[in-house]
Symmetry: none
Subunit: 407 residues, 2 copies
């Protein structure tokens, strides 16, 4: 699809803003969704004079992770570009990654020894504190710097999570990195072997095996975090950039490392934001408005409060964004698109598969179908209910960037 789209792309510039309210979609709870309950005069006014619809992030009924959902919004088929967990976790921790690096997601965990076998008693080492994690990671790094001549770097995540980066001396190919996760995802059993899943990956699986042993040696006297489970062995994915596909110079205005990472994956330049507030993101947008064609603007807190089940605070973030939008619309965008990457209903305290409202404003909008920017109202629009990966078609079309298909 993005080959087709890219082939149709005219050599034309336009100012495009893609505003993603993470997890914005909700469920009636009990009567109104968060969007329905929020007071959003600016969004409503925009919805009335814009084209509307709702997107299905991945496929009917599938609940997406944020990484896959975002790739979809950026126009990539999320089934084709299924980015490894190690990479996403690494990007989230702001680790720099290149094509020689293998990234691994780790969990500190607790094991006991029984008949000279390890048995997992806690996959998360009792969710040790992040401070505790940092101490252990420092210890690991002081004892382990190379395995099989390959440089090893450890980085702390939150609680029991960490990332391990192996810096190889050659560009890695996906085929040589197919190694099975060692986390059996249950307790009372032994950790799994880092089994190679094809013969090309035998060498790396042996290195991982040694790494696990070396880590155990360092950790064995720890009380809780006496073992490390590894998964998501992954390399830097080859994704064509937004600029190479559509000739648009793209920037991201985000406040969380994970989204910075995803935006970098597709060639966006992450811009500096003074603090975590939406208004400081707007300041960045105003300051850099003339320097880029495509802005990806990410609001994280709608999702965070959705996951906490905090209906009221999620509503408040939507209202905050509505106020910010008033400022945003004063800028001279050709296309403004507002949507979410997926739904995170406060009622479910989790991501969900439900469709996500979309509004696209341009001089060529089919308007007049929706009264508000809500799940139900947007469903009435001419964009219809569509797969998220097609959103970029609509955005580029509204920007006048796509030429005719066929004769």
């Amino acid at each position: 699809m993005h080959e087709l789209r890219s082939n149709l792309t005219k050599n034309k510039k336009a100012k495009i803003g893609l505003f993603v309210l993470d997890g914005v979609g909700g469920l009636p709870f009990p009567k109104l969704t968060e969007l329905e309950a929020a007071k959003t005069p600016t969004l409503d006014k925009l919805a009335k004079k814009s084209e509307t619809g709702a997107h299905i992030p991945i496929l009917s009924g599938l609940t997406p992770g944020s990484g896959s959902a975002h790739l979809s919004l950026f126009g990539y088929d999320p089934l084709k570009y299924n980015i490894g967990r190690g990479i996403l976790e690494g990007l989230g921790l702001d680790i720099s990654v290149n094509e020689k690096d293998l990234l691994i997601r780790g969990n500190f965990s607790t094991v006991i020894e029984k008949n000279s076998k390890f048995i997992i008693t806690d996959r998360r080492a009792g969710r040790i504190s992040t401070a505790h994690n940092k101490r252990i990671v420092k210890l690991l790094q002081s004892k382990i710097t190379k395995i099989d001549g390959i440089q090893v770097e450890f980085t702390s995540g939150l609680e029991h999570r960490f990332v391990c980066k192996l810096k190889f001396n050659h560009k890695l190919r996906g085929i040589e990195t197919r190694v099975a996760d060692t986390d059996p995802e249950e307790i009372g059993v032994a950790p799994l072997n880092p089994q190679n899943q094809n013969k090309e990956s035998l060498k790396i699986s042996k290195t991982i095996f040694k790494l696990i042993s070396a880590m155990r040696t360092v950790l064995k006297n720890e009380k809780n975090a006496n073992y490390a489970l590894l998964r998501g062995f992954s390399i830097y994915p080859k994704i064509p950039t937004i600029e190479s596909l559509y000739g648009l110079k793209a920037a991201s205005i985000v406040t969380y490392p994970m989204y910075k990472g995803i935006s970098k994956l597709v060639g966006m330049n992450p811009l500096e934001v003074k603090d975590g507030t939406i208004m400081s993101q707007v300041d960045t947008l105003k300051r850099e408005f003339n320097n880029y064609d495509f802005f990806y603007f990410h609001v994280k807190k709608t999702d965070s409060f959705g996951e906490d089940g905090n209906y009221k605070k999620k509503i408040k973030v939507i209202e905050d964004f509505d106020r910010a939008l008033k400022e945003i619309l004063k800028l001279n965008f050709d296309v403004v698109c507002i949507t979410g990457d997926h739904s995170t209903p406060s009622k479910m305290k989790n991501h969900s598969w439900h469709p996500v409202p979309v509004v696209i404003s341009s001089k060529n909008s089919f308007y007049g179908t929706s009264k508000r920017f809500t799940e139900k109202e947007c469903l009435k629009g001419t964009l219809g209910l569509f797969e998220g990966k097609n959103l970029m078609n609509f955005i580029l079309a509204h920007a006048g960037i796509l030429s005719k298909f066929g004769a």
Copy 2:
């Protein structure tokens, strides 16, 4: 798709009920569809507090047979799993089938001999009565029990139709059973040869050739039914079971052999139903409720009366189901889904391609979009208009059985 879905399936149980009102969708006739005209207080109440939508059984504009439409509802791509006519006809006649059996659909027909060639004058032998058919099948079975050492079994269908089963001594592979239909689908021409379509199928085509000759020898003095045209040579299809895919123990509550057969194909256990009434199906459901995770409950008569063009009786069946639903909803289902396999508008006296309303009730429903369980009202829902094969995604999502896609 069901590989993807199956990979995302958590090891989690839930009570799921899929209620299929065969051919329930209709057309305004003249003003209201059957669903709109029916008094359905329980369905309406459910629709108000559930998620709704409409499914397209196969693809836009395609009218399905019941077998394909059901496979789609069960989550299988009906274009991939196109089950042979011989098998479907056999399942319809409640013939037991295993992997060593070749099933063939036959038509008694009328031929004349001309220049030592057969010419078909009636492809259906004047639509002989079923009683007449039974007499001939008995005659055939008394004279033909083996061909090439392979046991042959004949079974009467309705009017001119019958099924022939060849019981081989080895597991059949699809590749050795590619034999062309002998019915030219026109009169005034000769029957076709049971031509092998690859070299692996030469042996079986020779056996079929001998079978046809043997049948002609038995039939040659019959007045109408003096020849048999054969088609749909097919073996038992390899379909992964619902249990192997989703870990759900599944049962069917059906009253017609064809649906029992289809449910067995996907690994469901057909449960005993005392008589053909919906209430006796409900009794079975209550009795077995604790023994299975997934129940497929099939109501046949909506389709039968639709095919008869009996608008009033189709409405009555819908109302009967509505009363039964009141009992059904007292059971502790996690997910209840009500839909049809396809539309059978009384106005058309036939299956049609029109979308079929769907209601899914769970604690995570996006409700409040539809006032009734009707074609028009359900179209307003957040499930949207979707391909039938995706229904199972939604059902599993609502059951909380699918884990997140991607990171």
